[in-house]
């Protein structure tokens, strides 16, 4: 059909006239690399001794991009200075025109794109990437696919397509996937349309993915993929920034934008994917990925983007067997051992008997004798003293590690910090040269870390006699809903066994849902959901509680037998409670029945009066506030209901507790009116009925606003 091909041609021509544009989001909008990013923007952090943004720009240049806008918020001046002095700014040899845009008030990807929309810089489809992408991919195919959807002649024409996400095939446990932030893409395998996007969370853990059945109205076959690496390379239409402006609450590109577009009935836009299984693409969002991507570069997965291609003109790396890369003027002592996967920058000196493996060493570093460096990233001008041991840590420019210092796994040492001599830095320690700001830019939530164990650890870490630096702690993302542990698991060299999953997960919130989850919708075969530690730790926790209660019982019965004072008994209970980390609820569940048991059943009424006279104040000591008082009433109700002879003690004990101000009338009303008190079985509910008279009396007493009771 001639008219169509003509149309295509003219379309191609207009396409060719337009320079290909790309937008680089330089900011991370989070604090993952703190304290490093306090002084240097993430996109300038060196990865294998090359600033991260160089990889991104190189990747864009390979893909034929001609115009790049770098949107920067934090440290924009540094980024600008870097670009100005880089090879990209030399007009003659660069095919790439880079412009840095200082967007001073952006707090999220959404803000940056709204800024982009406001400035009207984009004139055609563009490539949107983070400033943290390392890739050897060419985007020709993806671009072609994206464009063909807009044409009339394509097989899968879809005028509503606004974005193509470029993804890489990996595996579900691939290290290039951001741990704790994986996502599932549901794709129509014939058209590559993305029909559902599900971000996965570790805390709280995503257990199920729910697909809307409407999807099946348009797609008879879909593929759920949990094996994709999302390097955040998107080919976007011009509508994308505009959509962000329309939906001013969208912050993130994936969980807000992609989800928003896919679930919206009104927008009617579609998003596609391009899955590559040949080339490398990954982004460095957190220190875990910093580690894995650096490793991939050393191991040449990113070829041709490897150290000896010298992305920076001043570099002169040489490649030798065992993936060892040496810059010029490197001085290695005779006895030092450089094992596999090591890169050493020019001008670095390595001392005697020093061993280096799986590491990147920057320029002009001085490494002493008998040093062990394993899986570490030393940037430029770092000084390492004799006998030091560095494992899987990052040490930034100009830091000095004095003799006999040990850096355990996962430490991050910022610029100009001095450590040592002769100290041991515990795992996951972060040291900055400046004190951590109370309320830093991305963290306005002061108490985001109250359950963070590092908090208490902060003052305790010794930086050594000559140490100069400040301990920083993870503050979590500025996202209030997010669990700080999500961030922790994605940090450098984090060993998942260190995570105290049991303690928090055993507390019922998660496990309860897990139990409720047992029966599946498609069958009631008693299928149980997947399990990991919480189950066990839950049992352990339950056992602990039981043990604690038993001890408590013993101590109380001792108190009765030896007629201790209430103060002494309370002290003992407190001691036990603290040592077993027990809760007041558990304490009450033991104390209240134990006290009732002291009543001499042959003459119940006088006896309970006597018992309560002394011991009511013990109940008072473990009861704080109205909710606890209601709890006491439940315990009374349950216990008396379970023991027949106790039933007549119920009303008198409430009255006595009321008289002693252990329970207040509000609590009694609340208990009486609660659904739970009505649903505890027949003897318990009849006990509640018996209390009706007392409730009436209390109500009247309140209405008359009378003074105290004189019953």
């Amino acid at each position: 059909m001639p008219p169509k091909s003509k149309l295509k041609q003219s379309h191609n021509e207009t396409e060719a006239e337009q320079p290909l544009q790309a937008v680089v989001l330089a900011d991370s909008y989070n604090s993952r690399f703190m304290p490093l990013t306090y002084e240097k923007p993430r996109c300038l952090l060196p990865v294998c001794n090359v600033p991260l943004i160089e990889y991104t720009l190189e990747f864009l240049a390979i893909s034929g991009v001609q115009e790049v806008f770098v949107i920067a918020t934090m440290h924009a001046e540094q980024i600008k200075a870097h670009i100005d002095s880089s090879k990209w700014s030399r007009k003659n040899d660069s095919t790439l025109q880079v412009e840095v845009i200082h967007a001073s008030e952006c707090l999220s990807v959404g803000d940056a794109l709204r800024e982009l929309d406001a400035r009207q810089l984009i004139s055609t489809d563009f490539i949107l990437v983070g400033g943290d992408v390392v890739s050897n991919m060419t985007l020709d195919k993806a671009l072609e696919e994206h464009r063909s959807r807009k044409r009339n002649d394509g097989k899968h024409t879809d005028k509503n397509a606004i974005m193509t996400m470029v993804l890489r095939e990996g595996s579900s446990h691939h290290p290039s996937r951001a741990r704790g932030e994986e996502s599932i893409f549901v794709i129509d395998p014939t058209t590559s349309e993305c029909v559902h996007f599900e971000p996965l969370e570790t805390f709280p853990r995503t257990k199920r993915v729910d697909l809307n059945t409407e999807i099946f109205e348009r797609h008879t076959e879909i593929e759920c993929r949990n094996d994709l690496i999302d390097p955040l390379i998107d080919i976007c239409s011009m509508e994308v920034p505009a959509l962000f402006t329309e939906n001013f609450d969208w912050q993130s590109l994936r969980s807000d934008f992609v989800r928003g577009v896919l679930t919206s009935d009104i927008l009617g836009k579609t998003i596609y994917t391009h899955i590559s299984n040949e080339s490398y693409a990954a982004r460095i969002q957190n220190s875990q990925q910093y580690d894995s991507v650096s490793n991939d570069i050393l191991k040449r997965w990113t070829f041709p983007i490897v150290p000896e291609t010298n992305l920076q003109e001043t570099d002169l790396y040489e490649y030798s067997r065992g993936n060892i890369y040496k810059g010029s003027r490197v001085i290695l002592s005779k006895s030092c051992i450089v094992e596999d996967n090591v890169q050493i920058g020019s001008g670095t000196v390595v001392g005697e008997n020093t061993r280096i493996i799986n590491s990147v060493i920057g320029k002009n570093c001085k490494i002493g004798n008998d040093v062990n460096i394993e899986g570490a990233y030393l940037w430029d001008n770092v000084v390492i003293g004799d006998g030091t041991n560095v494992k899987r840590s990052i040490i930034a420019n100009d830091a000095i590690i004095l003799d006999d210092t040990i850096l355990s796994e996962g430490c991050i040492v910022s610029f100009n910090v001095t450590l040592g001599p002769n100290i041991k830095l515990p795992r996951y320690t972060r040291v900055g040269s400046q004190p951590q700001p109370k309320d830093d830019f991305f963290d306005d939530d002061e108490n985001s870390d109250d359950d963070d164990q590092d908090d208490s650890a902060r003052p305790d870490i010794n930086l050594g006699e000559q140490g100069a630096g400040y301990i920083w702690i993870d503050k979590g993302d500025n996202d209030e809903d997010s669990d700080p542990r999500n961030m922790k698991i994605a940090s450098l060299a984090f060993d998942l066994q260190d995570l105290n999953v049991g303690k928090d997960h055993g507390d019922g919130s998660d496990s309860a849902s897990e139990i409720g989850d047992i029966s599946d919708s498609d069958s009631d075969m008693g299928s149980t959901s997947e399990m990991w530690h919480p189950e066990q730790s839950q049992i352990l926790a339950a056992r602990k509680v039981e043990e604690f209660k038993r001890e408590l019982e013993q101590s109380i019965s001792r108190a009765f037998a030896e007629d201790h004072t209430v103060e002494l008994a309370a002290l003992e209970i407190t001691g036990l409670r603290m040592s077993a980390n027990g809760s007041y609820d558990d304490v009450r569940e033991v104390v209240v029945p134990a006290i009732l048991n002291q009543v001499d059943m042959s003459k119940p009424l006088p006896s309970i009066k006597a018992v309560m006279q002394k011991w009511a104040s013990l109940i008072e000591k473990v009861t704080h506030g109205k909710d606890d008082q209601v709890h006491v009433l439940y315990i009374l109700q349950m216990y008396c209901a379970d023991h027949e002879q106790m039933q007549k003690l119920f009303i008198p004990s409430i009255r006595l507790l009321y008289e002693d101000d252990v329970v207040e009338e509000d609590a009694i009303f609340k208990w009486y009116n609660s659904d739970r008190s009505k649903q505890l079985g027949s003897p318990a509910t009849s006990l509640r009925e018996k209390a009706t008279a007392m409730i009436k009396w209390l109500e009247e007493a309140e209405e008359e606003d009378s003074d105290d009771d004189d019953e």
Partner: protein
Amino acid sequence: MGLLEKPKQQQKQQEFQAIILAGYGSSNRLYPIIEEDNLPKALLPVANKPLISYTLDWLEKAGITDAIVLTQTMANAQQKIAAYLARGYQGGVHCNLIGVDEDFGTADAIRSIADRITTDFIVLPCDLHTELVPRDFLDHHRISNPTMSALIYEATKGEKGFPGKEDDTAQYIGIDAAESRLIHLADYDSSEDEVSLRMSMLWRFPRVKLHMNLQDAHLYIFKHWVLDVIKAKEKISSIRQDLVPLIIKCQYQRKLVEVEEMDKYAKSDDLLDTALSLSTVYDEFDETLLNQHDPFKTYFKSNIKAHAFVYRGGYCGRANTIPKYNDMNRLASKQGLSIKRIADTAEVTQKPLIGNDSVVGEYTKVAEKSSVKRSVIGAHCIIGKNVKIANSIIMDHVVIEDSVKLDGCIVCNNAKILEGSSLTKCEIAGGYIVERKTEENGQKLVGFREAI
């Protein structure tokens, strides 16, 4: 070849035993044509051959000569099937007809005859008709040697009941392409607006294709030890609803395998597995080892495997709804098949009016000026003058008087359609008499039993 005959001494140990479920499922989807006054489902005619004969032929092609036919002792179904197997069936499969209680589920029924099964076994419905060469499926099973293999088929275009929202037999079928595992099987439920997938499944099988254009043929091959599971677990009542989902889930749910103690039953008879486990040099790459410390990603290697064999390109279908039964007839009698179009004993006045996409049974009389298109007419029918029959199934002993028009109808045994009626898309129950000049569309014509 009879029921009462003692089973012959088997020459060699059979590889598979077959269990045919005759008279299960479908519930009222085939009403009224499988009512007592007509035929049990197994005997419904497809191109004038009973449904079950197709299943038996398939088994014979698969080299399986020993089958147990399970039927519910409901009404006279058992007698009718017994009569057919004893006298009508000509093939070489030795059938053993066993009646089971009416409210037994399919798994309950198998439990009741468990001691008769000594090998791995195939469970299949009596209403399955497929062009699939049995060997393809069996070889797939033999090579992968899973706990269970299921036949999944692509609904062919010709089938009217193309899966979609309007079809209540549609299913969501999840298959892991890399290992051809069957990992999700759920019936489509129009009242639910979400399909829920477990993350444990997506961690174990990160690439799941979820199909709505595929159908479960209800043809399964099970390892013999699955019988022990059926025997031990009374709560497994239905194969499709309980047993198959259990096996599917045991592929990725560690907890379930533990709770159900599946490992106790799962005996591996795979020579290669045994050999490899004894090997000192063989080192299987195992992703579990890489992530065994990772408590967040359950990666669980189960001994239990459910495989799916997806059959595309040829006909495969079940007659479990009226439209599908219709389709099956049309396909079984379609143009080009080398079947006997008009029985020798039939008396057809104007043969050219019988389309070569139709079949006319024994002793049937068709008077002049009557045309038959894309239809199947049974035996002993009497069809008057000027009758037009299209897209219909006429069973045996049906009387159709002059000038009747039938389109898309199913007429059951002994029914009578009186002069001048015009019926479209109707099902006429056994023995029902359609009055003169009746005009109906899309009705089920069923008489009260007293009236007949």
